[in-house]
């Protein structure tokens, strides 16, 4: 077993490869599509439109003076980054089998490049939807550093989870199919289409479960910075710097997931060339 500092050194040497793979992901995705990057915006906007019609118009979710579309979008963009990253990473090792059998490179660059390219999409989507958010929720340039720190934490957490799924899929090939179902459940267990206070009011027995879900904390963190604080009646307080508790919990999940994911991935990575 190779010691971790040496492995990290390998990864540092391969930063160029990582950068090229991220570039490849972005280029391949936009090659031959005239609308290019707009495509990655259409999904969240369409989802926002559908969920707004269903929940704000049909079901009349009460958000005081808030706006459901921005409320949903502020959570959904976070979820989309996480979900797309893990779902593309899960098959990354198996799909790159021919390369893994022929060339040595730190295997973690495969899931990491997918996570980072999704991170670029997330950033672009944030920039592109910012007019909507600014129009409804006000202009808060002082929160840009907070959003960037949040993005670093979310990326670390996502990278950790992606590495766990990518490595586990080599041994259990049908994990890929299972992931889709798992993520559908995970989506509803995360306060994206609902706010945490709905659970508090209507089904407090579920609250421990929802709070145990790390994505709850990340969605709440970003929602605080992009939307503000949702409330059932009256004023929805505008975007603000998230409380220390949110930072600490998100930070702990980010460090924990990254450490476990990296350790597990590297433990399993040595045999990838034999198994793919």
């Amino acid at each position: 077993m190779v010691a971790t500092p040496e492995r990290l050194g390998d990864l540092w040497v391969s930063r160029e490869l990582l950068r090229n793979l991220v570039g490849k992901e972005l280029k391949v995705r936009y090659k031959g599509s005239a609308l290019g990057f707009l495509w990655s915006l259409i999904t969240p906007l369409l989802m926002t439109a559908i969920f707004t019609v269903v929940f704000a118009t049909f079901l009349r979710i009460e958000l005081g003076d808030g706006n459901f579309a921005t409320f949903f979008l502020s959570g959904y963009l976070v979820w989309q980054f996480f979900s797309n990253s893990v779902n593309s990473s899960v098959g990354a090792i198996v799909a790159n089998g021919p390369l893994i059998r022929k060339v040595y490179f730190p295997r973690e660059v495969l899931p990491l490049s997918l996570v980072l390219s999704q991170g670029v999409h997330f950033l672009l989507a944030l920039v592109a939807t910012s007019p909507l958010i600014i129009y409804y929720r006000g202009f808060h340039p002082e929160l840009v550093p907070a959003v960037l720190i949040g993005l670093v934490l979310l990326t670390a957490f996502t990278a950790g989870v992606s590495m766990i799924f990518a490595a586990a899929n080599v041994g259990f090939r049908d994990l890929q199919e299972l992931t889709q179902v798992l993520f559908l459940g995970w989506f509803y267990a995360t306060p994206i289409i609902y706010a945490l206070f709905f659970v508090e009011d209507n089904a407090p027995q579920f609250l421990p479960l929802i709070r145990a879900n790390p994505m709850t904390w990340f969605v709440e963190l970003f929602r605080r910075m992009l939307y503000g604080t949702p409330a059932r009646e009256g004023l929805n307080p505008p975007p603000a710097w998230p409380p220390l508790e949110s930072w600490l919990v998100c930070g702990a999940w980010a460090v924990g997931a990254l450490a476990v994911g990296y350790w597990l991935f590297n433990r399993l990575a040595v045999t990838f060339a034999k198994e793919v």
Partner: protein, 445 residues
């Protein structure tokens, strides 16, 4: 990164490498949950206690039958495979050439692939930029450098892959069979490049079936058999003993056994090239079902095969998602005696066939063997790939030309026609208003 002269470039100590050969495909989560026992597999010891020390500046050839463990040893040196027991220690920057153009992205341009492939091989952006012009000129693809490599001919593809590979300038170069692809000129070029590399005092480890290449390049040869080093010494001595072993061992049962455990063939003849053409269609894109295709296989004899029962050249058409082949044929099954060419000479076998298959991606494997003994000389897996797009709406493998007639008193309307309303003899459940029909029926039921 110049190492001290007395520090070796590669130290291999008591290396063991064990492969598990599963009787079925690797188990998934589902199978493991409802069958608590472990999947059936047999263990194959590819390397069985190999120890060697290679010093800086040495050029070492690894030879042996297929299945002797030489490629496994190279992959362990390259850190692609982990050591199951023992250690491999490297003293310097390593580059590995196992496959030219590994990791090329068909949708990216040649330029983008040079950077991507270069970084896969361990080059920095600056190094690639510095040798970019030289890479493009070496490959001779300057006019196409901004075209997606999907549109490259297979020759251009290999040349570009090779050009990038030879611009990797490591301390230790590990090469596996790269020399066996391409024409003679290409092979000479790559050999010259490696020779100049070793003349500059770099370390080269070469795995090859082409003993002449090993002879001209290496000053030391390690002979492997059944995962063990059986000879390690000066090239001339090693190759003499290896050739004697090859000549004497060919008829022994042990050699046949080795062939059975070795699906890649014994290398006594090689598939030099296999090209699929579909007249009137771009073989890179989808072709219609039933298109006429032609597979040209160039075979080069490595050893003297005359008087051993003749060659057989086979092709297998398969679809990766199916467990068995779609189609397989061999020249020997058509009662054709193919006299083997003398060593170093080539022959061409052309297969003309019709792609009477339904939509899917099909791969063609080419097989080369002895017509009488079923000894396999070489297998080129995935020699060609073809995407077929059938017009039919049907699913499966083969178009059976099915005609369907329906005898139905309720009436049958062709897909494009609109059935009349019920009052005019139309169906009771009108396809245009399925919900209305459904609602009408409920109170009665």
């Amino acid at each position: 990164m110049a190492e001290a002269d007395d520090a070796p470039a590669i130290v291999v100590e008591d290396l063991h490498e064990i492969f598990r050969i599963y009787k079925e495909r690797p188990p998934g989560l589902k199978e493991r949950l409802y069958r608590f026992r472990r999947a059936d597999f047999t263990e194959f010891h590819a390397l069985n206690g190999v120890s060697l020390t290679i010093r800086h500046g040495e050029s070492v050839g690894l030879v042996g039958h297929n299945g002797s463990g030489k490629s496994t040893l190279l992959k362990c040196m390259a850190r692609i495979l982990p050591a199951d027991r023992g250690t491999v220690t490297l003293g310097g920057r390593v580059a590995t050439l196992l496959e030219l153009g590994a990791g090329f992205q068909p949708d990216l341009s040649g330029r983008e692939n040079v950077y991507l492939n270069g970084s896969i091989l361990g080059l920095t952006r600056r190094e690639i930029a510095a040798s970019f012009d030289s890479i493009v000129d070496f490959a001779g693809v300057r006019d196409f450098i901004d075209t997606p490599v999907r549109n490259y001919s297979s020759g251009m593809y290999v040349r570009l892959g090779f050009a990038i590979a030879v611009h990797v300038d490591p301390d230790i170069l590990l090469v596996d069979e790269v020399l066996s692809v391409g024409d003679a000129g290409f092979q000479e070029k790559s050999l010259a490049r490696m020779r100049s590399f070793s003349e500059r005092g770099k370390t080269v480890v070469l795995v090859s079936h082409a003993l002449e290449a090993v002879e001209s390049l290496c000053d030391r040869v390690v002979v492997l058999e059944h995962g063990q080093v059986i000879f390690d010494g000066p090239t001339e001595q090693a190759l003499t003993s290896y050739r004697r072993r090859l000549a004497g061992g060919a008829s022994e049962p042990a050699a046949v056994e080795a062939v059975e455990t070795d699906p890649d063939g014994d290398g006594r003849a090689r598939v030099a090239d296999a090209v699929l053409t579909v007249p009137g269609h771009d073989p890179a894109g989808p072709v219609p079902s039933g298109a006429k295709a032609r597979l040209d296989v160039d075979v080069r004899a490595v050893d003297d095969l005359v008087g051993r029962g003749g060659l057989t050249v086979g092709m297998v058409l398969r679809r990766p998602d199916l467990p068995s082949a779609v189609y397989e044929t061999r020249t020997s099954w058509r009662v054709t005696y193919v006299a083997p060419p003398p060593p170093g000479e080539s022959l061409r076998a052309s297969f003309e066939f019709e792609l009477n298959v339904l939509t899917g991606t099909y791969l063609i494997d080419v097989l080369l063997g002895n017509a009488e003994t079923d000894v396999v000389h070489d297998v080129r897996r995935d020699a060609a790939k073809i995407v077929v797009r059938a017009e039919e709406h049907d699913a499966g493998i083969a178009p059976l030309g099915v005609r369907i007639t329906l005898d139905n008193p309720e009436g049958v309307w062709p897909p494009e026609s609109e059935p009349p309303p019920m009052s005019e003899g139309g169906p009771r459940f009108h396809p245009a208003r399925p919900r209305a029909g459904h609602d009408q029926r409920q109170p009665q039921g």
